[in-house]
Amino acid sequence: MDADVVASFQFTGQDIPWLLAKWADAQPDTHC
C-alpha cells in the first residue's frame, strides 16, 4: 500500500495548523 495514497484519502487538505485553526474557530466558551 502506497502511504501517500492512504494519506491523501485520510488527511487530504489537513495538517497541524489547519486543525488548530478549526479548534480556534470552534472551541466554545462554555468550558471556561
Partner: protein, 515 residues
C-alpha cells in the same frame, strides 16, 4: 466567528496554561495560541526558515518551547526537540544528524548549544530558564532574545497542507549505539488526535497536566496531541514534576488527566489529597495497583513508543482487561508476537517480540532521519515494526508486557541504549570488554551499571572506574552515566556465546546499592 476574532473573546477556553515553579503563570486561549504561533512563524520565515528546515528546540518545559514547536509546524519547518540533560558531544550529534539550521534555547543552555552547533545560522535565547531568572553569566550569552521572533501575523504566509510532511523530530535510544532521530509527520499528529482521546477518554473539558519533558513523545503526543488537537481540551504545563505541588496544581486547575511514572506515586505517597477532578492516570505498559493512592482515579495502562506515535495498546477506563495487562491493540495497529530468533508467530501465550504494523507517517513514525539502514532494519519484510519489547498474548487478546530488549534500559522515564554506553567505555585503555545492564532503583525504575573485564594494561580498580565514569560524564547525559563499575573475569554466557545480561542484572541487584 472568524478565526482572527477568537482572540478577542471576553471569556475563552484555554489551550495552554503555564504553571511555573514560582512567579506569575500565563495562559493562552485557542485563539491567542494561534495568533502567537502565526506571529512566530512570520518571524521564523523572516529569518530564512522555510519548509523542511530543521530547527533545534533545546529547552526545559516552557511556553516558548511549545509555541516555537507549533510555529515551526505553521511554517512547514521541523522542530527538533532535544533532551536538555545532553552534554555538548551529544548535542553536536543531534545538530549534525538532523541537518539543523537554527536553534531556540534557554540562557542555561545557550553556551553549550553554540559550542555544539557552530554551523547554525542563528540561535535565539529565551529570557529566563522556564520561569527561573538567568544568572548574570547565563544572561551574557550575546544572542538575540526569543521575542525577536515575534513578527506581524499578517506576514504569516498561507501554506497548502501537506499531511505527510515531517513536523517534528524526537531522539530515542534503542539497541543501536547512537540515539535515532524519529520523524513524526503532520499526519502522525492528526492520527494521534483521532485515537488518543478515545484511548484515555479525553474530552473538551479535559485538562492534562504535563510535567514530563516536552522533548518526549509522552508530552507531545500522548498528552498534547490527544488533548488539544484531538479534543479541544487544556494543557497545564509545569517545568518538571513536583511532588510537593502535585495535588495543589491538580486542584487549582481542575486537572482531569495525568501521565504516571513510578516517581509520581512513590513520592506523593502519604500526602493529603484535596478535593479534585482527576479522572485518569495513564501508565506506560503495566499499571500497578495504585488507584487508592491517587484518590480513586482510574489508572489506564497503555503501551507505546516514539515510533508508534500514540498508545498502540490501551484499555480505556470503561473496558475490562485482566489485571497486569497493557490492554489490547488500538484500532489501526496490527500486532503480532513472534519468536525473536526464528520469527515464528506465537499464538499460544509464549513470550515473544511484539511487532506492530501501520502506515508509516500515519500510525507509525515516518523514518529515522538520516539513517536509512536503521529504518530498514527496524521493519520486517512485510512492514511490521520491531518493537524490541517482549510480550505474551493472554486470555481475550489482552497483551502482557514481559521485558524490554536486553540492551534497553529505562532510567527515570528515559530510554537508554546499553550499547551506546558500552561503546564509549571500550575506549578506555585497559577495558577488554564491558557489559552495561540496568540495576533496579526505587524511583528511577533502573540505573545503568557496568560490568568490566580488565585487560593486561588496566589501571587499578578505582583508577579505572574513575576513567570510565569520567569519559561517560564527558560524552553522555547524566542519566546514562554508570552508577557503579563491577569487575569480573568473564561474563556469564547464553546461547551463541551472547552475554547473559539477565544474569548480570541479578548480580547487580545483589550488590549493595551504589547510589
Amino acid at each position: 466567528m472568524a478565526v482572527g476574532e477568537v482572540g478577542r473573546r471576553p471569556a475563552r477556553h484555554p489551550l495552554l496554561i503555564w504553571e511555573p515553579k514560582e512567579g506569575e503563570g500565563a495562559r493562552w486561549t485557542y485563539g491567542e495560541f494561534q495568533i502567537a504561533t502565526r506571529r512566530l512563524a512570520a518571524g521564523l520565515a523572516a529569518r530564512g526558515i522555510t519548509k523542511g528546515d530543521k530547527v533545534v528546540i533545546h529547552c526545559d518545559n516552557s511556553p516558548e518551547m511549545v509555541l516555537a514547536w507549533y510555529a515551526c509546524a505553521v511554517v512547514g519547518a521541523v522542530g527538533v526537540t532535544t533532551n536538555t540533560r545532553s552534554v555538548a558531544a551529544e548535542m553536536t550529534y543531534f545538530v549534525q544528524q538532523t541537518d539543523a539550521v537554527a536553534a531556540i534555547t534557554q540562557p542555561q543552555y545557550a553556551a553549550m548549544v553554540a559550542r555544539a552547533g557552530p554551523g547554525l545560522r542563528w540561535i535565539v535565547v529565551t529570557q529566563d530558564n522556564s520561569g527561573t531568572p538567568a544568572s548574570a553569566e547565563q544572561a551574557a550569552h550575546g544572542f538575540e532574545r526569543f521575542e525577536v521572533l515575534y513578527g506581524d501575523e499578517a506576514d504569516c504566509a498561507q501554506r497548502t497542507p501537506d499531511p505527510m510532511a515531517p513536523a517534528g523530530i524526537v531522539f530515542t535510544s534503542g539497541t543501536t549505539s547512537r540515539p535515532k532521530a524519529v520523524v513524526h509527520t503532520h499526519a502522525n499528529a492528526l492520527w494521534a488526535a483521532r485515537v488518543g482521546p478515545t484511548n484515555i477518554t479525553m474530552h473538551p473539558g479535559g485538562v492534562y497536566l504535563v510535567f514530563l519533558p516536552f522533548f518526549h513523545v509522552n508530552a507531545q503526543s500522548w498528552s498534547m496531541w490527544s488533548t488539544v488537537l484531538g479534543a479541544g481540551g487544556t494543557i497545564v504545563l509545569q517545568p518538571k514534576f513536583s511532588a510537593s505541588r502535585f495535588w495543589g496544581v491538580i486542584a487549582k486547575h481542575d486537572v482531569t488527566h495525568i501521565s504516571l511514572l513510578p516517581i509520581v506515586y512513590t513520592t506523593i505517597a502519604g500526602q493529603t489529597i484535596p478535593p479534585n477532578k482527576l479522572e485518569v492516570g495513564v501508565f506506560g505498559a503495566i499499571a500497578p495497583p495504585i488507584e487508592d493512592l491517587l484518590g480513586g482515579v482510574k489508572v489506564v495502562p497503555a503501551f507505546g513508543m516514539t515510533e508508534t506515535v500514540i498508545h498502540a495498546t490501551t484499555a480505556a477506563p470503561y473496558q475490562h482487561i485482566p489485571p497486569g495487562s497493557m490492554g489490547t491493540p488500538t484500532p489501526g495497529y496490527e500486532m503480532l508476537v513472534v519468536d525473536p530468533v526464528t520469527d515464528e508467530v506465537l499464538t499460544d501465550g509464549r513470550i515473544g517480540e511484539l511487532l506492530v504494523r501501520g502506515t508509516r507517517g500515519i500510525q507509525l513514525f515516518l523514518e529515522y532521519y538520516g539513517s536509512p539502514d536503521a529504518t530498514a532494519e527496524s521493519f520486517t519484510e512485510d512492514g511490521f515494526f520491531r518493537t524490541g519489547d517482549r510480550v505474551r498474548i493472554g486470555a481475550g487478546g489482552a497483551i502482557f508486557y514481559s521485558e524490554r530488549d536486553k540492551d534497553m534500559l529505562k532510567v527515570g522515564g528515559e530510554n537508554v541504549s546499553a550499547k551506546e554506553i558500552e561503546d564509549l567505555c571500550r575506549q578506555v585503555p585497559g577495558v577488554r570488554d564491558v557489559a552495561v545492564v540496568g540495576r533496579s532503583h526505587p524511583n528511577l525504575d533502573e540505573v545503568p551499571v557496568a560490568f568490566v573485564v580488565k585487560g593486561p594494561d588496566a589501571a587499578a580498580d578505582q583508577a579505572l572506574e574513575r576513567q570510565i565514569i569520567e569519559i561517560a560524564q564527558e560524552n553522555l547525559a547524566d542519566f546514562k552515566v554508570p552508577r557503579a563499575v563491577y569487575y569480573v573475569d568473564d561474563f556469564p554466557r547464553a546461547t551463541l556465546d551472547k552475554v547473559a545480561k539477565n544474569k548480570l542484572r541479578e548480580h547487580a541487584n545483589g550488590f549493595p546499592q551504589p547510589f
